[in-house]
Amino acid sequence: MTRKQRRGVLIGSGVAILSLASLLVMFAFRESIVFFHTPSDVVEKKIESGQRFRLGGLVADGSVKRGQGTTVQFAVTDTLANVNVSYTGILPDLFREGQGVVTEGKLGPDGLFVADMVLAKHDENYMPPEVAKALEEKGVKLGSSAHPDSAPGNGPATRP
């Protein structure tokens, strides 16, 4: 093989692998991306049931109901709208009423959001950034003054 041919083989296989990877990436994006919505998005945009997405906001005060076994029901709110969520499993240590939370799952036909994942950062003063930003956009004033001396959050989170 000449130098040119050898280089051709190298470049050819490189390009082949790169295009394979691009195809994989495009395919994976179509299949696996999950959108983030707030409760008012869910109401306004009329999200279809059965579509997987992330729902974020605050755990509404007084909404947490522990049922039999390990199923928990609670409402996620951005103070403008509420969405009821049902989750079977162990909640993160810092799951509490009034705390920021991100859940992932699907909306049922009855409007109940069935989550299979609940995220809360492992820090008591933490607000998931999407939640904070979304709430800010909705004009919700965050009670950050409640923790005037709060340490900045710098710890990892628990997951379900």
Binding site: I17, A28, R66, L91, P129, D149
Partner: protein, 660 residues
């Protein structure tokens, strides 16, 4: 007072770094030997000053000097000593100080061990290294001073986040930073080579040990983080494809590619331009990791305190070094003489294949990590890219790499004989397939990909052994001669084989726990039983207890198998005093075949306790594999030819085929 000394030495270190940035490079430019040697002394002085500064901060943490804001915000007098010490790098400011300390350490190491480096190369390397130091020292002093005081000093500190109070996490950051920052050496050498417009095999011999050392530290650092997440976060996962994890994984992938391409450059004088580019990119990815973790641009559960201003400064630092490095590369790379012809089927060819796959997979991780950010910037839509994306893109790219791994070391340089190598590997492959069929038959139906990946893992392990046996001419020579040859194999051969086998071991662990995990979420009342993967668990009840800085609720489980008591597990839920925060401590029993894992949830009004029960088959192999890789790296580093500071070409090599 001691904090002020720390602050002062930090400023002095900046001054020294500035001198080190300018003078030796000017000396290299004007060929003034005296100016060039100044870099040596400056590098050592800078390191000493940074050490004093670091020790001063450590002193403040150990003595709980709450008049220092950083200590007040991140420490507590009740904390055990080890966590007061690790608290130094458990926060943004202190961890940046650790970062520059390690940067200084590497600079000093060049000056001390680099006696026989060409003087101009050394001067330029030290100059570039100092430039990175100047940027980060300015960043610390201007935006994140760890020594800032508070008046009046609070009576007590706010404490370290309890889940960071853990032995694995205490040492996770130093290793991780040693990895990140270690790649700065490769970067500095690459920039120095571009400045000089000259690069040869000696350059690669110099860069390789540093890259290897950094790579080892990064490997073990990532593994520690994963191990910690596994037992501390309480739900048994070991890798989440979280943006912050990806931030550490991308430099690892690029660094692994760099290790291999530098090998081609050292042995065959080929792939020069590519190696230089990889060196620049690897360190750029490290910088990007720092940016992602500290700026708050990405939604991550691990990120440091969100501060956009600091983010912008780090972004500028990253842009400067990455952009500057790439610009210099574009301008000068053409001047580098290319050499070393090779056929596609050859050791070089296999290493190129390794490089292509590693860098492409690194690119897919990069896309997955940054895409949500880009999309939100452009359309305002918020999305998350989770494990499914990475499983669909990263895993398919790794499979051919694993398959090719045993072939690479067996192929000859320049032109290899694929058929002969395949014959040599036939036994290893057959063994792997047999094992897999046996295991698959025993464990029953599972996902089809799992046995395939398991077989690949075994193939990689057996392939590594085949490689060593072939080098020692197993079967071709008498037993005595074979043993003699085994003893005489270069340590780098053992190191490489071990590192490869480590990957195989890790793959087995990943396959075992991903495909064959048992998970149960149930609520039990005291006296009730549950069954997981053949283990019978009796929940005896919960009793309160007190630790040094927390109170806890400890549950007792009697674990038995086939009616024989195996062990007693004590998972607990802790509530720390400062900051008042609950954590979950998993109860783990490590059997040979896997881990039995219990994590507690909430107590219900009925008296039952929600809990998660897992059986993770082979999960420990993931971290054992990482440790094997680390040990492989260590053995390689002790090789005479790789020894730091001994960049002469090896004299005659033992007549082992194929020559390493």
């Amino acid at each position: 007072m001691i904090a002020e000394i720390g602050h002062f030495t930090l400023i002095l270190a900046l001054v020294v770094a500035t001198i080190q940035m300018i003078v030796p490079m000017w000396g290299a430019h004007t060929r003034d030997a005296r100016l060039m040697t100044m870099g040596d002394n400056a590098a050592v002085a800078q390191f000493v000053l940074l050490s004093v500064s670091f020790l001063a901060l450590m002193h403040a943490f150990v003595t709980s000097d709450f008049s220092v804001i950083n200590v007040a915000e991140n420490s507590h007098s009740e904390k055990p000593l080890i966590y007061r010490m690790s608290g130094v790098w458990g926060n943004h400011e202190g961890s940046m100080l650790l970062w520059v300390l390690i940067l200084g350490l590497f600079g000093a190491a060049v000056s001390i061990f680099g006696r026989n480096l060409p003087t101009t190369l050394k001067a330029n390397v030290l100059g570039v290294q100092a430039a990175i130091g100047v940027a980060f020292l300015l960043f610390i002093l201007l935006t994140s001073n760890p020594f800032a005081r508070i008046d009046p000093a609070p009576f007590e500190g706010q404490g370290l986040n309890p889940i960071l109070q853990d032995p694995a996490l205490a040492f996770h950051p130093p290793f991780l930073y040693a990895g990140y920052v270690g790649f700065s050496m490769a970067f500095s050498f690459a920039i120095a080579a571009l400045i000089e417009g000259r690069i040869d095999a000696a350059w690669a011999r110099w860069v390789r040990p540093w890259t290897l050392a950094a790579w080892m530290c990064l490997t073990i650092g990532i593994a520690m983080g994963s191990w910690w997440a596994y037992y501390e976060l309480g739900w048994g996962g070991w890798w989440f494809w979280d943006p912050v994890e990806n931030a550490s994984f991308m430099p690892w992938l690029a660094g692994t590619a760099l290790l291999h391409s530098a090998l081609v450059m050292e042995k065959r004088d080929a792939l020069k331009v590519w190696t230089i580019l990889l060196a620049i990119l690897t360190f750029s990815l490290s910088l990007m990791g720092a940016f992602l973790v500290r700026s708050g641009v990405l939604t991550s559960v691990h990120a440091f305190a969100v501060d956009p201003d600091r983010g912008i400064v780090i972004l500028s630092i990253m842009m400067f070094f990455t952009g500057g490095g790439l610009a210099l590369f574009a301008w000068r790379a053409g001047a580098l003489r290319q050499g070393g012809l090779f056929a596609p089927i050859s050791r070089e060819g296999s290493l190129v294949f390794n490089n292509v796959l590693l860098s492409v997979s690194c690119a897919t991780v990069l896309v997955g990590t940054l895409y949500p950010l880009a999309l939100e910037g452009i359309t305002g839509e918020k999305i998350s890219v989770g494990p499914p994306f990475f499983n669909m893109t990263f895993v398919p790219l790794m499979l051919p790499l694993l398959f090719a791994m045993p072939f690479g070391p067996l192929l000859a340089w320049k032109r290899g004989d694929a058929r002969a190598v395949a014959q040599r590997l036939a036994f290893a492959a057959g063994l792997a397939v047999l094992f897999t069929i046996a295991v698959a038959a025993m464990s029953g139906p599972g996902p089809w990909l799992a046995p395939l990946c398991g077989a690949l893992g075994l193939f990689v392990i057996f392939g590594a052994i085949t490689d060593l046996l072939t080098r020692a001419r197993f079967g071709d020579v008498s037993r005595g001669e074979f043993l003699r040859r085994v003893g005489n194999l270069p340590r780098s051969a053992y190191g490489a084989a071990l590192a490869h086998a480590g990957i195989g071991v890790m793959v087995l662990g990943i396959v075992g726990t991903s495909a064959y995990r048992t998970e149960k979420i149930i609520a039990l009342k005291p006296g009730e039983r549950a069954e997981v993967a053949g283990y019978e668990l009796l929940f005896k009840g919960i009793v309160p207890s007190k630790g040094p800085n927390y109170s806890e609720q400890i549950a007792t489980f009697e674990v038995s198998r086939n009616a024989a008591l195996v062990t007693t597990l004590l998972p607990s839920k802790r509530l720390y005093n400062a900051p008042p925060q609950p954590t979950t401590e998993a109860g783990i029993y490590a059997a040979w075949t896997g881990d039995l894992y219990i994590a507690l949830g909430d107590q219900q009004p009925s008296g039952a306790v929600a809990m998660r029960l897992y059986f993770h088959p082979l999960v420990r192999l993931i971290w054992i594999g990482a440790v094997i890789m680390f040990i492989g790296g260590m053995i390689s580093l002790t090789d005479r030819r790789l020894r730091v500071g001994a960049p002469q070409r090896a004299r005659s090599r033992p007549s082992v085929v194929p020559a390493e």
